[in-house]
């Protein structure tokens, strides 16, 4: 390539806004309630944020590149995939009597779920919303049908899910490593640039030779794989898997992606926005649990927060557009 592709700045105006506002929010919370910055709290928030972050990376890719025909991309099955993985691991482990094989099979299960989603969407022309909702329901049913088998969780999963280096838990380090990989992939590889192209103008991308079916499918497969990996991390965190599961991953991952500045209709979005997004989501979650605020308030607050942050983005881009025209 003799003519170098001009890349957008890493820290765009939008990303800066997110980092500053999330930082100010957490700082303000810390001023009001001094216990926020206790090491154990920081570790708790980051550990949960790491698991959510791994799932949100997949969700990010789907929202960026999972659109099909005129329907936007969305993966509503990440939460159920994660939950299914935690229970399936125990069953598979008992069956094959090998930790490594069970881990690999669990990751393959995630790939399979992603494939089912992707095939339903690209071959069956079902809108991503409906297809992944259907998968999510079926997986929930299956998860509740298979009961828990007690097995010993292998040491490396417990290490990944529960250990920490200094103040930073391993789950968060996993998230950081994966997001750097995804960032490089999205920014410098042909794959990432094609996903961006497909995301902002699928028709043009198709004419330039992007296989829309394949690329759409791939985003769902990667999302399934990451959700399964998130499930394994979650298992390492729980140590004893439980049947009581409230899905705090599906909507929170979508919320984290949207707070992270990704446009729902595609074209705009950066992996870097996810970090403040997931930290903010888990920060709210953790401290609401900490102060015994009822679940009702948590949901209302989450709803209002997504609404206000997305409104800020919309106003920001409107202002920019006005400058451009004038």
């Amino acid at each position: 390539m003799n003519k170098k592709l001009k890349l957008p700045p890493i820290f765009s105006e939008r990303i800066t806004t997110i980092y500053v506002s999330v930082f100010l929010f957490i700082l303000a919370a810390g001023m009001l309630i001094p216990t926020v910055f206790m090491p154990s709290n920081i570790i708790g928030v980051l550990r949960q944020a790491g698991i959510l972050g791994v799932v949100a990376l997949g969700q990010f890719l789907v929202i960026m590149g999972g659109a099909w025909k005129k329907d936007v991309g969305i993966d509503l099955s990440v939460g159920s995939t994660l939950f299914l993985t935690t229970l399936a691991f125990c069953h598979i482990n008992k069956l094959v009597q090998s930790d490594i094989v069970a881990t690999i099979l669990c990751l393959l299960l995630g790939v399979l779920i992603g494939l089912i989603n992707g095939i339903m969407i690209t071959r069956g022309n079902i809108s991503p919303f409906i297809a992944t909702l259907a998968t999510s329901l079926s997986l929930q049913g299956i998860t509740w049908m298979i009961s828990i088998t007690p097995v010993e969780i292998p040491g490396y999963l417990i290490f990944l899910g529960s250990e920490r280096i200094g103040l930073v838990p391993i789950t968060f380090i996993c998230f950081l490593i994966l997001s750097i990989i995804l960032w490089v992939l999205m920014r410098y590889s042909t794959y990432g640039i094609r996903v961006y192209a497909k995301s902002s103008n699928p028709r043009a991308a198709q004419l330039l030779g992007v296989d829309l079916k394949l690329y759409t499918l791939s985003t769902y497969v990667i999302s399934g794989l990451l959700a399964a990996f998130g499930g394994l991390l979650y298992l390492g965190f729980l140590v004893h898997p439980s049947m009581t599961f409230t899905d705090i991953f599906t909507f929170d991952s979508i919320a984290a992606v949207l707070i992270g500045g990704t446009e729902f209709v595609g074209g705009i979005g950066s992996v870097f926005g996810l970090l403040p997004g997931v930290v903010l989501m888990r920060f709210i979650n953790y401290f609401i649990l900490f102060f015994n605020v009822p679940d009702a308030t948590r949901r209302i607050m989450t709803g209002l927060m997504i609404f206000s942050i997305v409104t800020i983005f919309v106003l920001q881009s409107k202002r920019k557009r006005k400058f451009k025209i004038v």
Partner: protein, 306 residues
């Protein structure tokens, strides 16, 4: 026109096959008690499907219909026992308010409908949990008995209500200027705007209508279950999408068919009823519903879009 009719025929023939199979294989299915049961389920699912299709038809979606219904059962469980008229008025107003929130976000702030209604979904869930943290309260038994009242075995009131809502919606969408504008905006927003349709206003009203219809569905659901419950409405989000889309509403907007939607609603009412009669595991029924949703939507949307 032919295409529209053929879509309705597909879904109604699927229903016919379902009824046939259920009559042959499931005891008590073809009984008068069950007839009333299916009719009331159908009424609720049909209303929520109409709510969903009025949002879909302008090119959006309303994720908040299910939790909207939960909120309404909560309100109903407090107010209907005090004063039924006041209760219904408050329910309709609350539905309109929730719809107005969605409409404001979509039409004035230009936020994607999924995000706005996701926020409304979360807020409504929170409200429902605040109103009734656990199922409770009381909804007058008289309403239940009149809804299920039968005349020679036929549940007259629920069928009359069903037909009234069907005719009202058909009239609205086919014969009023607002209804036609809804279709126009969903079909091609730019063209509609060029022809002088106030697209922002039409979209706003579509979401208000969606909120009101979902609130009505919530009211009937409350009457059916007899109490307020914080998450009883959640399964209806699935039914609303399934019934609307299986009945021939395009998720991309601009096309809907109330008669087809009734057929779609009947399909989901039958699935609901059959799974309940067959006394299968509730977990298995989730799997069946998920597969039915994908297959139903796949047949009606994927098959005909090509």
């Amino acid at each position: 026109m032919i295409r529209k009719v053929s879509r309705s025929i597909i879904i109604w023939s699927v229903d016919f096959v379902f009824v046939l199979i259920a009559t042959l294989f499931i005891p008590y299915f073809a009984s008068y008690e069950n007839f009333a049961n299916v009719a009331v389920r159908l009424l609720i699912i049909f209303l929520v499907a109409l709510a969903q299709s009025s949002a879909i038809v302008v090119g959006g979606a309303d994720l908040s219909v299910g939790s909207n219904m939960s909120v309404m059962t909560g309100i109903a469980s407090y107010l209907l026992i005090v004063n039924p008229i006041l209760g219904i008025a408050v329910i309709l107003l609350a539905g309109a308010a929730l719809g107005a929130f969605n409409g404001f976000g979509v039409s004035k702030l230009n936020i994607h409908p999924f995000i706005v209604t996701l926020c409304a979904f979360l807020i409504a869930q929170g409200l429902a949990l605040t109103l009734r943290p656990i199922p409770g309260g009381e909804i007058p038994r008289a309403l239940y008995t009149s809804l299920y009242s039968t005349y020679y075995g036929i549940p007259v009131l629920s069928i009359i209500l069903l037909l009234t809502f069907l005719f009202m919606f058909v009239f609205f969408i086919e014969r009023t200027s607002l209804g036609r504008s809804l279709l126009a905006v969903g079909g091609n927003e730019k063209v509609a705007q060029d022809f002088g349709v106030n697209t922002a206003r039409v979209k706003f009203l579509a979401y208000v209508l969606s909120g009101v219809l979902a609130a009505l569905a919530g009211f009937f659901l409350g009457v059916r279950i007899g109490c307020g419950s914080p998450n009883v409405g959640e399964t209806f989000l699935l039914y609303s999408f399934g019934a609307a889309v299986a009945g021939g509403t395009y998720l991309t907007g601009g096309v809907t068919s109330p008669v087809g939607t009734l057929g779609g609603a009947l399909l989901f009412a039958l699935i609901d009823d059959i799974l309940w009669l067959a006394q299968g595991s509730p977990y298995l029924s989730l799997v069946v519903q998920g597969i039915m949703l994908a297959v139903g939507v796949g047949i009606s949307e994927g098959g005909l879009r090509r």
